[in-house]
Symmetry: C2
Subunit: 634 residues, 2 copies
């Protein structure tokens, strides 16, 4: 066992999350860093319990070998969630504090919206948590705030540019963009040279541009109806979903309908999660497309002159944040892209650093969003494609509760009491529901990884039910299936899972393979994914067909696909539980995150801005002003 | 000289600010902290060059004596600014690095809006700067982001509450606000007990409320037309000045006109600047009034149940950020309230900590916004009133350029070349303009402090011009008037100023006094301030009269007054230079920041959301991805 790890004194019944979190005094984060052999020049402290690990760490440790790479996905969940984060943390506590392995947990940073809204925090649960829980769930080290700032600077640049173009001649615009200095000389800034390159103008002296080139350069001619870039805010503010802007008298009637998304839905967040270096991030941020010109050309952040400023705003956010679990094992928290319109996985940068830090024989456990149909699928086909990393093992978290739902149990809804079927033995329901688990197993196995099922056991589960899940898992081709009690017992409750995962990592027999290659058509890629869901075909709306044509023309057809689909079913219909098949998947519209690097078909309508209930979580949240401690955070 | 201070190697002509800033390797901030005798448990590192000084520091050093307290104001400025921040920094470099004094500079955190917009950064200039300049001007330690988050959480709570009240009966509302637990028991959360107290309901058991009390408690009945709370963003986004929200189909037609201000204009920022402790901040945030009920009662953040959550979001922001000057002297950066609709001064907390850290014989130099008519006036009558602190010396920064403008020189505008009058000798213009300086001196002297004029000398100023300013200053009652060259020479250029300030602090002969007492009427207070401007009277609009009546009725009449007036004239008319008199000051409207603790009359129209020009600063800003350094920041 490492110097920093320690076992928990567990209490039964399990106390409230916040009480457990507050009962453990976190170690100074420099102790965690030291245990990882992280040199002091490679991290920056942010208070006593958080540190940003600098990208420069990769320069010095980048030559070493990687550890094992484990991804955690889940079966199709109930709206209550099946404990994917909790299992991720519990497994790492087992590996680090009980099995004497080097281990790093890679988690996403949660949005502050749900913390104050309905859902509460996201630091795990019970005796498997990241601490300090309030810092994890609140500002952390400011990455989401940096995303909000850069997303909205770009938004302001768009509307202001349209405004200034509407009132100025081409020549006046050019004069303002490249003003002569005291000696009458003009100069292009670096970002302007990028635009000139895009336009195929091979000149660096502003005075040499023809008047036609002056027009091409100065006038972006953005089509307001084509703008897909929205403003963002890390607050559940439903009244900003659809708004009209520009109604002030100084804006001269240039009103426009638009809206706000929650910050984690910003393409800037998706860029952060998928980037691999500062230089790569600069390119991706500059390439983000905000809409088209009236002639149909894509307009980028660099065309607006703001790609460099966006990078400056994001320069610290690219460094992952080091924290710790309740049992003193290290955690890297980084990025938290929205899991349907984006890919919902934690960052490539954090995983890469972690794999070097643990080294050969060590483990990096990273979480993928939602059910494995979208979470793990996007992990494999988007994240691993960009990172070049290959996992050895994929975990699928299952609960008896969710399997019963898939087997035909009554509806499970947040805020309503659970039906009796979920708290008393019903092996038949479990057995019937295992079709869902089986499909997640076979889909995940197809990537060439070993699949370990982690059954997140509840106190109401019976031995017969749990055995049924194990049996069905093995029948469907799982490498192993393990009953875990990390919520009630911390790492100790996931020791068997840790042993199974180690065995799975050491016994990979298949080569890693993607679900689809990049160089086929957009539709072919969509259809490959749809087929993996169980669909018999795909139905494209007229709008979707139009968009595909446009992306083909604009040269974006070779990007991977990021399906925006409900997590509550393999199909597009959240009510279709189990393993539906033979359905036709409808594609309502298709959008693109060119900077992040994917095309995202919309399967149904996705809300990108949650709301607040009548009694939001914030009613319980307060500060004990004597101790400075947060109370009421759940 | 302290261990951390060091003298600069200055170059002539003065290089660009960013080049000077980058030429000095900052010390690790723990060295600066150590030099201040700040124990390691009293600060949190945020990277290598920033640290948050914890409020707990006051608990251990709070028993000691304060140092001298010096406030820096200015004459009525040109739109180019007269170097108030630069002089503040230069003076401290002189005191610390040349005169061997303990000194702390207290500065405001700048908004990111201007950094990317027109103005550029705000870290001082030339050889008198705070470093690292990019960290100072960008996210710093996240305080402004915390303000944005809490301001907007409150905004979301307002609209969502109106929405939920519109669709639910009183009983349903109550059921949702105080839901029964498993055993059928209901419970009020702490913040609900605050509302009950306001309503005069002395019960703690929800089941004991009469149905009339249930209605009173559950239904805030907010009058949408009375809402003064706006959303904020730290970006120059003019298209958000006036918007319509709630246009999504789920919001069922509940549209409302509102808008965004820049984040520093948020009342939460004003609260941060004026608070004195965590407990005080909790009370102020909860007391913020967002509008009225239809019956005319003020509705607060605590009525909405969100005061505690706002405090949690602000719990780290209350700790000032420690940085350093180019010459290694300590700087506390904290708060940056909008200087017209709020009071525009850095925080009470930072000043209090600094005064204890420097101790007897040491100096705290804090900057007030704008010209002394509003900056210093608000410092004395609002900030000192709430802090209980009393300055010994007030500095008035003057430039020959601005005095020439006041003496009748041609218009000075940003982005346009300066008229010849400003770069060649013209003693007559200077002499005529000194009426402005004289009025700032006599107004400031009236508080019982010694006034030292700091003439921020430019290379084009002549000896005759500078002598004229000195002569006029002494004639107007200044304690001293000193020519300074800290922009060109760093602390060395402000040594004489430092000596004069020390003498001024040691020779206070008058008792400190406010301009007005709190217990007179709102109008009497406004008139006292107007008279200090030179006004012969005040003219109230019908709307202003109505508001005064309402604030009287609501019990807010004993708050201090924060005039929202142009900084470009003593009067309401920016074109009236010099020292106008006999004018009637028009009060267009009156608003209140009840949580922050002041009433603010609007003298004319104030823009609370700047815009971006055709070529914003961001065109030059980029990241050198090889070195990780920011380039192009001005």
């Amino acid at each position: 066992m490492g110097k920093t790890t320690r076992n928990l004194q567990v209490v039964s019944p399990v106390p409230a999350d916040i009480d457990i979190a507050n009962s453990v005094e976190p170690l100074h984060i420099s102790e965690i860093a030291q245990e990882l052999n992280l040199a002091t020049e490679h991290y920056d402290l942010y208070g006593k319990y958080k540190a940003k690990v600098l990208l420069s760490a990769l320069d010095s440790i980048g030559g070493g070998q990687d550890g094992y790479y484990v991804v955690v996905g889940g079966i199709t969940p109930t709206p209550l969630g099946e404990g994917k984060s909790t299992t991720t943390v519990g497994l790492c506590q087992a590996l680090g504090a009980f099995l004497d392995k080097k281990v790093v947990t890679c988690l996403r940073q949660p949005s502050q919206g749900p913390t104050f809204g309905i859902k509460g925090g996201a630091a795990g649960g019970g005796y498997s948590q990241v601490i300090p829980m309030d810092e994890f769930n609140l500002h952390l080290t400011g990455d989401i705030h940096a995303i909000t700032a850069s997303n909205n600077l770009l938004a302001a640049a768009i509307d202001t540019r349209i405004f200034h173009e509407s009132t100025q001649s081409d020549k006046a615009l050019f004069n303002r963009l490249c003003p002569p200095d005291k000696n009458g000389n003009r100069r292009f800034s670096d970002v302007m040279l990028r635009r000139l390159k895009t336009l195929g103008i091979d000149k660096t002296n502003p005075d040499e541009l023809t008047s036609e080139e002056v027009t091409k350069f100065s006038r972006l001619d953005i089509d307001p109806s084509s703008i897909t870039w929205r403003r963002v805010m890390d607050v559940n503010d439903r009244f900003l979903r659809k708004i009209t802007i520009g109604q002030g008298p100084e804006e001269k009637g240039m009103v426009r309908e638009t809206g706000f998304d929650i910050s984690v839905a910003s393409e800037v967040m998706a860029v952060l999660a998928l980037t691999t270096s500062l230089a790569d991030m600069r390119e991706r941020l500059g390439k983000m497309v905000i809409g088209n010109s009236k002639a149909g050309y894509p307009i980028t952040a660099d065309d607006l002159g703001v790609g460099g400023a966006l990078t400056v705003l994001m320069k610290d956010a690219i460094n992952p944040t080091l924290m710790q679990t309740l049992e003193g094992t290290p955690v890297l928290v980084h990025a938290g892209p929205f899991a349907n319109i984006a890919h919902g996985n934690s960052s490539i940068v954090a995983d890469k650093i972690a794999l070097k830090l643990v080294g050969p024989g060590g483990f990096v456990v990273t979480e993928a969003g939602f059910g494995s149909d979208i979470g793990t699928e996007k992990f494999m086909n988007i994240k691993c494609r960009y990172s070049g990393l290959k996992p050895q093992c994929a975990i699928i978290v299952a609960t008896v509760r969710a399997l019963k739902m898939h087997g035909g149990g009554p509806e499970v809804a947040a805020g309503k009491p659970l039906d009796r079927a979920y708290v008393s033995e019903n092996v038949t329901l479990v057995e019937a529901g295992c079709v869902n688990l089986a499909k997640h197993i076979s889909n995940t196995k197809a990537y060439g990884v070993n699949v370990v099922v982690a059954v997140n056991a509840f106190s109401t589960d019976t031995e017969a039910e749990l055995n049924e899940v194990r049996k069905a898992s093995m029948a469907a081709g799982a490498f192993d299936a393990v009953i875990c009690t990390h919520h009630a017992h911390g790492g100790k409750g996931a020791v068997d899972l840790g042993i199974a995962v180690e065995k799975a990592c050491k016994n990979v027999s298949q080569p890693f393979k993607f679900l689809y290659p990049l160089d086929i058509g957009i539709k072919d890629k969509i259809e490959a994914i749809a087929k993996s869901y169980g669909a018999s075909g795909v139905d494209y709306s007229e709008q979707a067909e139009k968009q595909i044509e446009m992306y083909n023309k604009q040269g974006f057809s070779s990007l991977p696909i990021c399906m925006a689909k409900t997590q509550y079913s393999f199909s597009h219909d959240a009510k279709e539980k189990g393993a539906p098949s033979g359905f036709v998947l409808p594609i309502r519209d298709i959008r693109a995150s060119i900077g992040a690097g994917f095309i995202y078909p919309l399967v149904g309508t996705m809300s990108t801005m949650p709301g607040l209930p009548t009694r939001p979580c914030f009613y319980e949240i307060d500060l004990d002003t004597t101790t400075g401690r947060v109370v009421g955070l759940s």
